[in-house]
């Protein structure tokens, strides 16, 4: 028996199944990547904690619904104060509260997005920083590029992994919040009033996925050590914001209204988001005096500079990723 097992060697068997190619070959890479990331407890915790946004916004929607019923009574006063603190809007002079539901919700979503950006920073760094860097470190690219995978397919798959988690940080909580708000408000009118918001949420979420995903992938493709990519991602997100804050203190507002006021990616993103949500115009269309909602609005500078900066950064990131991956794919056999 021992002799038999010692001499036994399995023979090679040919396989006659179907092997397919096509643009969808990015899916196995993306699903395997998402599964791999979700194995990490910290990432799972960060993803789960985005439910806090849903709970928080749900609470605010419930509060608005409650105040709507108290309008005109003395009991509403403390609630006005609380809303002034949370939304930076003075609602005490509003008589027809439900007519302002849409603009109030828009304000809530813009505030939420500001907080969610922090989660985008965390999840983007945790998930995206290693996506290409780890493949470079493990010299995995010859495996990818000896199979029917192109650099574009590879990049698309890697982007999908980080985009999925960025969606969980912003897009998904916001859509769930909207659903929750509609359920609290009840009635068909709240659906029709707030339907446009779903589109704005979708656009702002997609913008985060494209911008954050491409930037973090570009940084990940620059190094084989994910820690460097993570530090670079944090630096790109935090340092310009700090610099813009400092410059805003020392430079006159007209200077900050130009390019100098658009060096922070998160600041630019918020300005574009506010424009997407049409917050300024929506409040100006109300009967409220402008000082009642001025604090809720961002800087009143043209959105073209921030939009151009975001577009430029996204295009540059895509170009950089592509160049790096194509370069590695071409030297894959020599790695």
């Amino acid at each position: 028996m021992n002799t038999l097992s010692a001499n036994y060697r399995p023979r090679y068997h040919r396989w006659s199944g179907h092997v397919a190619t096509g643009w969808w070959t990015f899916l196995p890479i993306a699903t395997a990547g998402i599964r791999h990331v979700l194995k990490q407890n910290k990432t799972r915790l960060a993803v789960t904690s985005t439910l806090l946004f849903v709970i928080g916004s749900g609470g605010l929607f419930y509060m608005l619904d409650f105040v709507e019923q108290l309008v005109g009574t003395e009991e509403a006063e403390p609630w006005y104060e609380m809303l002034r603190m949370l939304l930076r809007v003075d609602l005490s002079s509003l008589a027809q509260f439900h007519e302002y539901r849409e603009v109030l919700w828009r304000t809530i979503f813009v505030i939420m997005i500001r907080f969610e950006l922090f989660w985008v920073l965390i999840l983007g760094g945790a998930v995206g920083s290693g996506l290409i860097a780890q493949d470079l470190k493990a010299r995995a690219l010859p495996i990818y590029f000896s199979k029917p995978i192109t650099p574009i397919t590879y990049l698309l798959a890697k982007w999908m992994i980080v985009a999925a988690f960025l969606a969980l940080a912003m897009l998904v909580p916001n859509l769930l919040s909207l659903l929750l708000g509609v359920l609290f408000a009840g009635g068909l009118s709240s659906w029709t009033q707030t339907l446009g918001l779903a589109w704005d949420i979708l656009l702002s979420g997609s913008l985060t996925m494209v911008l954050g995903g491409t930037v973090v992938l570009a940084l990940s493709s620059l190094t084989a050590d994910r820690r460097y990519a993570l530090v670079a991602w944090l630096a790109v997100c935090v340092l310009p914001m700090t610099a813009q804050g400092v410059l805003g203190q020392v430079l006159p507002p007209e200077v900050m209204g130009g390019w100098l006021g658009s060096i922070s990616l998160s600041g630019d993103f918020m300005m574009v988001t506010e424009r997407l949500f049409d917050l300024r115009q929506a409040w100006q269309a109300t009967e409220l005096p402008s000082d009642a909602f001025a604090a809720a609005l961002g800087r009143g500078i043209p959105v073209r500079y921030p939009a151009l900066v975001l577009l430029g950064v996204t295009v540059a990131s895509i170009w950089l990723c592509y160049r790096r991956v194509v370069r590695f794919s071409r030297s894959a056999a020599n790695l």
Binding site: R11, A138, I143, S146, A332, A333, L335
Partner: protein, 316 residues
């Protein structure tokens, strides 16, 4: 579409990197089978493989693999080719099974097919229960075998193996060479890039020798060993006690003692004083009273062929 009966063809294929020309007008047609790709460092072997896989675009010329143009049909080619890179290249965090399964999915296999096939090829390369361990924990031999498994998972028609026995112990090397020979028997063509000439001699039917970006020699191993001009083997029958003395008297060098086989045939290695002087041996044999059964020129080994090709290229 080119001729699918060839493993690959190159027509004036050139590849330049900045100031370095890695491939110089390479023109070659290699038939299917087991082919050894030999050459010193910097000969252009890896660049050729990279171009054939469609990873690196050629600067000029044309190449086909299994009849498909490498510029236009690179994905189709990669579906039919398995590539085993020289260096360790693993997807972080995967077990042996996960790694081979993932390679199958990348090749375009369905989930169930990829999983079933992963187990089949891991059985074939004899990874046993180690398949469930992370690949990072594998020994060198196991890493080489799991790399072979990922190249085999989609059952390619051709395997490109880059130094498959690199860093392996003698037993591991034996196993790997056995697998390669078995794959050839199963109908898979193999391009074996290696520095180890004994490995190539052991499993390859033909070789392609490259040097400084050029193809120096191609052909079947059996035909490549050139007849030596002065080194011969004399086969004879009868009492050859006086033969060595007669040969030396005739000016023929005797290299070692006579060796006899079971049939009573005796052979002895000789060195002629000059090319074309075989008659000296025949005369000496007649004088010694032995019956000559054969006088064959010795053929040069692969190593000698390889070195001769490199030397010839280096000559001004």
């Amino acid at each position: 579409m080119g001729d699918a009966s060839y493993m690959f063809t190159c027509d004036r294929l050139r590849k330049c990197y900045a100031r370095v020309t890695a491939l110089k007008e390479v023109t070659v047609a290699i038939e299917r089978g087991t082919v050894g790709l030999l050459g010193p460092n910097g000969a252009g072997k890896s660049t050729l493989i990279s171009v054939l896989l469609g990873q690196t675009p050629a600067t000029a010329g044309r190449a086909t693999v299994l009849g498909f143009d490498v510029r236009r049909r690179q994905l189709r080619i990669r579906q039919r080719i398995g590539f085993m890179p020289e260096t360790d290249c693993f997807i972080p965090g995967l077990s042996g099974t996960g790694y081979v399964y993932y390679a199958g999915r990348l090749a375009g296999m369905r989930h169930a097919d990829a999983m079933q096939r992963a187990h089949e090829v891991l059985d074939y390369v004899e990874l046993g229960d180690a398949r469930y361990r992370p690949v990072e924990e594998y020994s060198t031999g196991m890493r080489q075998r799991v790399k072979l498994a990922q190249a085999l998972v989609h059952d390619p028609e051709v395997l490109f193996l880059d130094e498959p026995t690199n860093g392996m112990d003698p037993h591991g090397r034996e196993v790997m060479l056995g697998l390669i020979a078995d794959l050839h028997a199963a109908g898979i063509s193999v391009l074996l890039s290696s520095h180890l000439l004994p490995d190539v001699e052991r499993v390859c039917a033909s070789v392609m020798i490259m040097g400084a970006g050029e193809v120096l020699t191609t052909g079947r191993l059996a035909d490549l060993g050139r007849p030596h001009p002065t080194l011969y083997t004399l086969e004879y029958a009868g009492n050859g006690a006086d033969l060595p003395g007669a040969l030396q008297t005739a000016g023929v060098g005797v290299l070692g003692a006579p060796v006899s086989d079971n049939s009573g045939r005796v052979s002895i290695a000789l060195e002629l004083p000059a090319a074309g002087r075989q008659s000296l041996v025949l005369e000496a044999a007649q004088l010694a009273g032995v019956r000559v059964r054969g006088l064959h020129p010795q053929r040069s080994s692969l190593e000698e062929t390889f070195l001769a090709a490199i030397r010839k290229q280096q000559q001004p």
